[in-house]
Symmetry: C2
Subunit: 426 residues, 2 copies
């Protein structure tokens, strides 16, 4: 029998509990032995819960789990940085294997945690930390092990994808859709981590470190959220043959890794364009396998619990059969991250300008001086003194766009730069 210490009995924790209960027989058969939840760490032992268990397993004292020699496996599902990080380190130090779905802790402390697990000869599994139930970490480590991964694109945040989908399909503004998503429980009361792109940044950082066998400095990952996307941008994207998605990107270049999260125009024809609502997807290109995409529910109680229980089963099997931990996936490279200013992209730019002759000429002159060439220009006539101009550039280094924008902002006839969105050629 393998005994488990479960930290947290919230959304995912209760899902894990119920899968271990419901499929106990099958799991026992596949693992080779029974799994037993020995202790569950909760904040409030007296809270009413819908799950059927002996109250004796609840504790509010982490030491009852860490110091319990019978517990082989710690399952951390409390989330957030602390105390989760401390508990994981303490468990590894006491020779327990760990399963977690904590993207923040893994993204921030991956090197330390992996190193400690290796040193102690125990497992650390974290499939649930990225893309919920979609298998992505294990395939990267195992199924694509014979590939050099060249690029990886993810729609890794369900909340922002839901908001962008609603804005697109129902032609509604950001604030309105966000409020609705919050009332439906698809967005948190404090949605900052999702909306700002931070959540997706943790996830692409984890995936990059596996795909490229390197440590990733989170501070070097460029992150931009979807707060600035207006319905007008979405409509213009559509008109130009694109949809807007919050894309997490990791590309291998000779001079470093290009890792970033930002809203992007992607072609309507690309499979990622069809990943809607709270669904997530990972699209990657390996030198042997070519293009592969996986798609599914990236969050939620049961999909994430599905990944966590698979991790538990793998760890439990290896503990039970005393299979030595043989993860040779040390981060042997130390790839630099490419600064966003050096990345080449096409750009979509939406400006408000005074409706006077010569304004477009002034703008295109500035672009010309900065080696920015234009792929398309949309100038719509409106019965107003202020009119929009929309430009799409060819591929150009981001620093050249930035220089151009500084100069364009200085023009008397330019009222404002409404948005600048990267166009990603997938």
């Amino acid at each position: 029998m393998i005994k488990i210490g479960l930290l947290g009995l919230g959304t995912v924790g209760s899902g894990v509990f119920s899968i271990l209960e419901k499929h106990a027989e099958t799991i026992k058969r596949k693992v080779g032995t029974d799994l037993k939840i020995e202790k569950v760490l909760v904040k409030d032992k007296d809270k009413q819960r819908d799950l059927d268990f002996d109250d004796q397993i609840l504790t509010d004292d982490i030491d009852e789990i860490i110091n319990n020699k019978d517990i082989d496996l710690l399952v951390e599902l409390i989330g957030g940085e602390n105390p989760a990080y401390n508990y994981i380190i303490a468990a590894l130090n006491s020779g327990k294997s760990v399963v977690t779905a904590n993207k923040l802790v893994i993204a921030k402390y991956e090197q330390e945690i992996m190193g400690l697990a290796r040193e102690k000869g125990v497992q650390i599994n974290y499939e649930g930390s990225v893309a919920g139930g979609i298998p992505v970490i294990r395939p990267l480590k195992e199924s694509f092990a014979a590939n050099k991964i060249e690029r990886l694109y993810g729609i890794l945040n369900g909340t922002t994808n839901y908001i962008l989908t609603k804005m697109t399909n129902e032609e509604r503004e950001f604030d309105e859709v966000l409020a609705e998503a919050q009332s439906l429980g698809y967005a948190e009361r404090d949605p900052h981590s999702d909306i700002s792109g931070a959540d997706a940044a943790y996830k692409i950082s984890i995936l990059s470190s596996i795909a490229f066998e390197t440590s990733i400095d989170l501070n070097g990952v460029y992150v931009e959220g979807i707060e600035g996307i207006e319905l007008e941008d979405i409509k213009l994207a559509e008109e130009l043959g694109y949809v807007i998605k919050l894309l997490a990107i990791a590309k291998y270049h000779q001079d470093g890794l290009d890792v970033r999260v930002h809203p992007a125009f992607i072609s309507k024809e690309h499979p990622l364009a069809l990943v809607n609502d709270v669904y997530n997807a990972i699209y990657l290109h390996g030198d042997a396998v070519g293009d592969v995409m996986s798609y599914g529910q990236g969050a939620g109680r049961m999909p994430t619990a599905s990944a966590v229980v698979a991790d538990i089963m793998q760890a439990a099997r290896d503990i039970y059969y005393q299979r030595p931990e043989v993860d040779n996936l040390d981060s042997i490279y130390n790839h630099d991250l490419v600064n966003i200013s050096q990345v080449e992209n096409s750009f979509y730019l939406r400006l408000q300008v005074k409706d006077k002759p010569g304004v477009l000429a002034q703008i295109t002159k500035i672009f010309g001086e900065n080696q920015v060439s234009l792929a398309s220009v949309i100038q719509k006539h409106r019965l107003s003194e202020i009119v929009p101009i929309v430009l799409v550039t060819h591929q150009v280094k981001e620093e050249n766009i930035n220089k151009s924008l500084t100069a364009i902002k200085g023009l008397d006839d330019v009222i404002s730069i409404k948005n600048l969105i990267r166009v990603e050629e997938l």
Copy 2:
């Protein structure tokens, strides 16, 4: 060092050879030791080859591999039933682990081969046998281990998907597109195994046996190919909001497993409808994970080699670290297969009838007598004595459709039944 005996140096075999060469350093690091191709079984040792190797490794005598005690791992890539089956059995019997991409042998002899591998304590990996480079067998065994898989749909044959895609997008007839596919190398000179659905049947049989932990009697799998699909059907499908795909289906029912391969109408809006050309996809529903889809190149030299090398690496690691084989995925169930006559579906039916009053009434009367109700009827007026009638039924047992068709065929005014295609509500 782990020594490999490679059987076959054709398309996939040469791909495996070149990946092992190109990524030797990375593979060594990930496995923990060097992999060495010790011997390669070929038909003709003197044939000119593009690969760079010592001619001494070539042999045309299988005994040099089976009886070579230094060889730990046999990689079977010759395909077909025999002698591949005999070689795999001989290798397992001599205590070697086996990696194969042979769908026919695995589908037909899965129970025997798995049992023998378990008895001998060696590995048998066959990810490359289904869907090329798309990870599907390993995720089913591991990532979705905590799920009860309820249904599984696959587009598992690239050749037929290419043909159907071309017919749809270019409005061309089957024979013409097939001929083109043959000239481009996307279809074999003898395309029967692909076109007839047999290839997809092997694959869905393998996936079903893993997903439902049962043995599958290939003879009980209903198989229908795409030979009968005409451009007219594809156009009508489009008009009704569908596309036609060769679908491999496996569903769990209380009274047995429903496993079949046939052309099907699927909604244009479904993600599988967008899997085009030679791409493959697997779409499954698990009780915890919900809907998950994987998509990629289902065949070809490098994608399949990518899966085979991943299998080799896993087997090699387990051999090197003497990790005991702990595959507890015995086929513990003995699910019956549901006979196709008992399966419920909607149906699309295209008839040629004489343009006389009352014909439709006679047909609908027969349907009514057999409890078949109609969802839609398309009757197009043409300046001809023979006109088409297209009907789409509601959900009904296949035996009721068959009885109706027998009666309809007997009507004087019905010239022919042009096609009957199942409509799959995914």
